[in-house]
């Protein structure tokens, strides 16, 4: 990141230079370079369109207001704002190629100069004459273009010097504007490390055991390199095991947005979920070191305590903390770290080892303890220190939402009653509802979201028809998408029916609601419809 004050300083210096020195010069050709415009374009190329827009507007406004300015206020602001935006966009396109950056910048400067002249011609016709434009504009643009590469070079050099420190900038060599490959890679790495993205890696888990694991425990004995980041390891088809452990090397740099995990154990068995954040270095202070597959339900924490209960239904949660070490102040304790997950029956072990060690500040007090709000029956919580900021862990014992669904995914409300209704009131074989039965069921259940399956015939006894087009239980698979439900039912007069004069409902509405995918036309075809 460039220093924030680079742009204002450059702008003020260039404005003063322009007004006091450059405009008073008598150069061959009649024009003088517009150094403010060139500086704005260079800053925009270096910093992007947003910075370009803001810097351009500010510089233009200053140039409008600075004392000899006799034009209308806002004229230069308008032009420079556009120029900054365009230069920023084209600078993005140019990437890090200095040649293309300079070329695009020159184009933008030339166009902006012409635009400024045109605006002056429109708004201040008394001050600008066409003879003047013919005389001065080509020379001005020419001087601008001469100035462009130098100013761009200056901006980039100063920016990189400020960004990387004087020593680094000097060591970077003579041409900071043209970064080498390694420099580029290094900058990219630096940029990436600012954000904290978990990566998804499949866990090599056995069936039935989930454990909490850190990002680097796959590599025993290997020191975590600087590039290792926290990884989320969802289970590959087995009971959920996930971990959002940060690797020790970056203990001080956790993103401020708390990680949010939403995990669902797909199976009735154990699931162990742990989130160990900010663990310390391995060599120092007894950081976590554990391996995969040691025990089901093992928690990855400070490795002092395992709760080998993952195989059982019922949650087991633990919270590990290794005494004197703590999160750094920039650690994740700043924000809350909500973790929500739901097993089917409240199973799953939640472990949360928090801040086991810190490289940078080993003497800070322990900041956090989790507070479990849970409806699970057997969840355990061990806490050893008083938190400063409390992360929240919520258990949801309801049926787990499929992973790809958003939080706003609809839920079945009355699915159980529908099923019982279906069995009680005679779903006919083949999954097709009889006419009268359907009506009855609909009325009683009040759930018009019935999807009729064109399932296998004789797949069950009468009354054993299946709900759901795929023949799977609605709890199993990903749920069908169901739109918003209208408030009125079949056959009733809708609030809008006075417009149509027609009773909205009946077979038409039933088909509408059932949708085409689930064979809603079957209602009408086979059973004559519901109305």
């Amino acid at each position: 990141m460039r220093k924030a004050w680079l742009a204002p300083v450059l702008i003020v210096v260039s404005i003063v230079l322009q007004l006091t020195v450059l405009n008073g010069l008598r150069l061959p050709g009649g024009g003088v370079p517009d150094v403010v415009l060139v500086v704005v374009a260079a800053l925009a190329v270096a910093d992007g369109p947003l910075a370009g827009v803001i810097v351009g507007f500010a510089a233009g406004l200053c140039l409008d207001l600075a004392p000899p300015g006799s034009l209308l206020v806002g004229q230069y602001a308008l032009v420079f704002c556009l120029a900054g935006w365009a230069a920023g966009r084209l600078g993005r396109i140019a990437g890090r190629s200095p040649l293309w950056s300079a070329v695009f910048m020159a184009i933008v400067v030339a166009v902006a100069e012409a635009l400024s002249t045109a605006l002056g011609l429109v708004l201040e016709p008394a001050q600008v004459t066409t003879a003047e434009i013919r005389d001065v504009l080509p020379a001005t643009i020419g001087y601008d273009l001469v100035l462009c590469p130098f100013v761009l070079y200056l901006v980039v050099v100063v920016g990189s010097l400020l960004a990387e420190g004087l020593a680094a900038g000097a060591a970077a060599g003579g041409v900071p504007g043209v970064p080498t490959r390694s420099e580029r890679a290094q900058r990219r790495r630096q940029r990436q490390q600012v954000r904290h993205h978990p990566r998804l890696v499949h866990a090599a888990a056995r069936t039935g055991d989930g454990w909490l694991t850190s990002g680097h425990d796959r590599y025993h004995g290997r020191q975590p390199s600087g590039r290792t980041r926290a990884r989320l390891r969802p289970a590959s088809g087995v009971a959920g095991s996930a971990s959002g452990l940060r690797h020790p090397g970056s203990a001080g740099r956790v993103s401020r947005t708390p990680p949010s995990l939403r995990l669902a154990g797909g199976r009735r068995g154990d699931g162990a979920i742990g989130n160990s954040v900010g663990s310390g270095a391995i060599g120092r202070g007894g950081g976590p070191r554990f391996g995969p597959g040691r025990h089901p339900g093992m928690l990855a924490g400070a490795s002092r305590q395992f709760r080998p209960r993952g195989g059982r239904p019922g949650g087991s949660a633990t919270r590990q903390h290794s005494g004197s070490t703590a999160l750094a102040s920039t650690g994740p304790g700043r924000g809350r770290t909500p973790i929500r997950f739901g097993g089917r029956r409240g199973d799953g072990a939640l472990g949360r080892a928090f801040g086991s060690a810190s490289l940078t500040r080993p003497s800070r007090p322990a900041p956090a303890t989790p507070r479990l709000r849970t409806g699970t029956s057997r969840s355990a919580l061990t806490t050893r220190s008083v938190p400063r900021v409390v992360p929240k862990v919520k258990f949801k014992t309801a049926a787990p939402a499929p992973a790809r669904r958003s939080a706003a995914a609809p839920r079945f409300r009355r699915s159980s009653s529908l099923r019982s209704l279906g069995s009680a009131y005679g779903l006919v074989s083949g999954g097709v509802l009889e006419h009268s039965t359907f009506r009855t069921a609909r009325r009683r259940a009040g759930a018009p979201r019935l999807r009729l399956a064109s399932g296998r015939r004789a797949s069950g006894p009468p009354g054993g028809g299946m709900l759901g087009g795929s023949g799977r239980s609605p709890l199993r698979g990903p749920r069908p998408r169901i739109g918003k439900q209208p408030r009125f039912g079949y056959g009733r007069r809708s609030p809008l029916s006075f417009l149509t004069g027609r009773r909205v409902g009946g077979s038409w509405l039933a088909r509408k609601r059932a949708g085409s995918r689930s064979g809603g036309s079957l209602i009408g075809k086979w059973t004559g419809g519901a109305g």
Binding site: V16, N23, G24, A66, S70, L71, L72, G74, Q127
Partner: protein, 312 residues
């Protein structure tokens, strides 16, 4: 992308703000809010320009006139105090001398100032380092030792903006020197050569011009914006346009508008119209001295006639 969308939002907002400012300024030039903002900007940038002006004048400093320093010290003392102890270069001294000579000849009371900034682009404006705190108000005449510079258009507490007579937007009422015929002079704007030729348009169709005639400002109402008698320039070429009712001419200004240093603001106009007294003395032809030696027999007659011709 979010970044781009936000950028576009910012862009649109700022464009709208800029257009609104333009509209506000266009519709109501004397808006109090804008004037206050301009005053603040004038304070900030004027101070910076004031500091930089001394450095900037290094680049535009002309030749030295060391021999005249001694004789001018008395006149300079007062102006030196007005310029707040600023070190005056020798070219400034020369300009001050000429300014004082001009002001003395036409009985103007001037306030000396120096140009600290020049307008960008097509604006033919300069900033001088005196303002309302020094008694300068808008619509006052600005001149230097050579002639008319322009007119004060706006004033902040410590700076004033001067629109040059060079500007196409500036129309100056002019009187032709010998005859007193009236016309108007407009500026050429920025030109390739730095300072181009002004255009004189006579008011009366019966006016007769000839190259070499000089122009001074004619009297304005209440001596604003121009006090009478300030030299403007000299006619270089007559322009004959078929069908034109009045005569027109090209005028070379006395002042080099691209090299302005010390200028003076006329804060008290003269009691009487100075007519053409402020014009440079050169154009007035001196008396032609003719010496006739009586011829004696045997010697050839000698005839000497030194004469001063008006410079064109």
């Amino acid at each position: 992308m979010r970044d781009t969308r936000r950028t576009r939002v910012v862009l649109v907002v700022l464009l709208v703000v800029a257009l609104a400012l333009i509209g506000l300024d266009y519709s109501d030039g004397s808006n109090s809010v804008l004037r206050a903002v301009r005053n603040v900007a004038g304070d900030v940038f004027g101070g910076t320009e004031h500091g930089t002006g001394a450095v900037a004048r290094f680049f535009s400093a002309g030749s030295s006139s060391a021999s005249q320093v001694k004789s001018l010290q008395e006149q300079v003392v007062k102006l030196r105090a007005e310029l707040s102890g600023e070190q005056l270069s020798k070219s400034d001294l020369q300009q001050l001398r000429k300014l004082l000579l001009l002001a003395g000849a036409a009985q103007y009371r001037v306030l000396a100032a120096s140009v600290i900034a020049v307008g960008t682009g097509y604006q033919q404006t300069v900033t001088i380092d005196v303002g309302s705190s020094n008694g300068v108000t808008a619509d006052e005449t600005v001149l230097n030792g050579d002639g008319l510079v322009g007119q004060v258009t706006s004033v902040t507490p410590n700076t004033a903006t001067v629109r040059l007579a060079d500007s196409p937007a500036q129309v100056v009422g002019a009187a032709v020197a010998p005859s007193g015929q009236l016309g108007s002079v407009t500026g050429p704007g920025v030109t390739t050569s730095g300072s181009g030729l002004m255009r004189l348009q006579m008011l009366s169709s019966s006016a007769v011009l000839k190259p070499g005639d000089e122009l001074v400002t004619s009297a304005s109402e209440h001596d604003r914006p121009f006090v009478p008698g300030v030299p403007i320039g000299v006619i270089t070429k007559l322009i004959n346009v078929n069908g034109a009712l009045t005569e027109a001419a090209d005028v070379r200004p006395f002042v080099d508008y691209t090299a302005l240093g010390i200028v003076g603001v006329v804060i008290v106009p003269p009691k009487h119209d100075p007519r053409f007294s402020a014009l440079p003395p050169l154009p007035h032809p001196g008396p032609t001295v003719t010496v006739t030696v009586t011829a004696r027999p045997g010697t050839a007659g000698n005839r000497s006639s030194p004469s001063t011709r008006p410079g064109g």
